[in-house]
Symmetry: C2
Subunit: 220 residues, 2 copies
């Protein structure tokens, strides 16, 4: 939901999109099938999947056999770093995206991080993004000899309701987006659990925006 | 040569070593076989190979079919960013190492970058390392809730001659190290080309240290 809305927003600003999905050993391999459909729907000029096996390193409920927390109230979500935190995940994502951007001559990376209605991950905060931009400026040929590659975070200060409304306005096919940390396979379709932090934040966002979530019918 | 000497130096300082090799699509897959032997020789407590297919992104003589420059004089080496630069390579290496370090509770990363007798890569400079340390401090649970993971660069201000002498003193098995950008396979052994920038810097280092390079006999 966040990545695809962020992508749609920069595309609406006139950027050509080169989509990148990272296969990092997440339990929901279905995310990668969604990413393929979204890249196509958003008119991406290219789409790549790069494998980085963070699952082999362990340490997270998203890649290990640790239980995903369920039924937490909104006050608890974001009040600390949850067990769904994947060690250095966005640092790895941005590093691989930086390599991809420099190899294809892209001006900027875009990432759907959000520091308002979020789960409390340190690598979603603006100060982290600024620190990464400095790495991009100092650690690449593009940064030293040309124009540093920027990191665009169009959602950073938006609420989930604003993200749902903006994505809806831009025609993002939310039926192909998956936010759930622990989806349930049912007859070949994937249903969100409806009880993890990501489901709770998403439901609140759609409700406050006065929209139906098209993914609630299950995904083929 | 640099990675293994850096590892031996921090081990001599009392650190327990957890070795990490990145399979990034480099043409010299032989590097990974060397890494396995070196981790064992250096008494590493663990050794992992993580695949990140930067080769699929293109843009470098180390992963693509671009020719590696040969027979350049020492004044030319390091005077600009060469075609052997791999886009954002050390950013990706450090990001994956940061994830590994956080997952296993390590205090620090160690990387054998060197800004003196080096090839002119932007991601070997101290200002890049400092920027990455800030990313590690702001973008991880370890940095926010505990002690930030440091990046140790014991070779950063050493000459190649000093590195050769230090590695020799610490018993680093240089016969299992491969610096060459374009090694030649000969009867199952790998021989350095002797003509690329990395071979030139290495030869100068061993010569100035008054040492023989044990890798010149070829590697099984």
């Amino acid at each position: 939901m966040d990545s695809s809305t962020a992508a749609a927003m920069v595309r609406a600003d006139g950027y050509e999109l080169h989509a990148l999905a990272i296969a990092y050993g997440q339990r929901q391999g279905h995310e990668l099938a969604c990413a393929t459909k979204l890249a196509d729907a958003l008119g991406a000029a290219s789409f790549r999947i790069v494998t980085v096996d963070l699952g082999a390193l362990g340490g997270s409920a998203l890649t290990d056999e640790i239980d995903v927390p369920k039924d937490r109230d909104h006050a608890s979500i974001g009040a600390g770093i949850p067990v769904t935190y994947v060690p250095a995940r966005n640092t790895v994502f941005l590093a691989v995206a930086l390599a991809a951007a420099e190899a294809c001559g892209a001006e900027a990376l875009v990432i759907g991080v959000n520091a308002l209605d979020y789960s409390g991950y340190p690598d979603c905060r603006p100060e982290f993004i600024e620190a990464f931009e400095r790495v991009a400026a100092l650690g690449t040929k593009a940064g030293v000899e040309g124009t540093p590659i920027r990191v665009l975070t169009p959602l950073i200060a938006m609420s989930k309701a604003e993200i749902a409304a903006k994505g809806h306005e831009l025609g993002v096919p939310f039926e192909h987006t998956l936010s759930c940390y622990d989806p349930i396979e049912q007859g070949g379709a994937w249903l969100p659990c409806g009880r993890c932090d990501a489901c709770a934040l998403r439901a609140k966002g759609f409700a406050e925006a006065g929209l139906m979530d098209p993914a609630l019918g299950g995904q083929a």
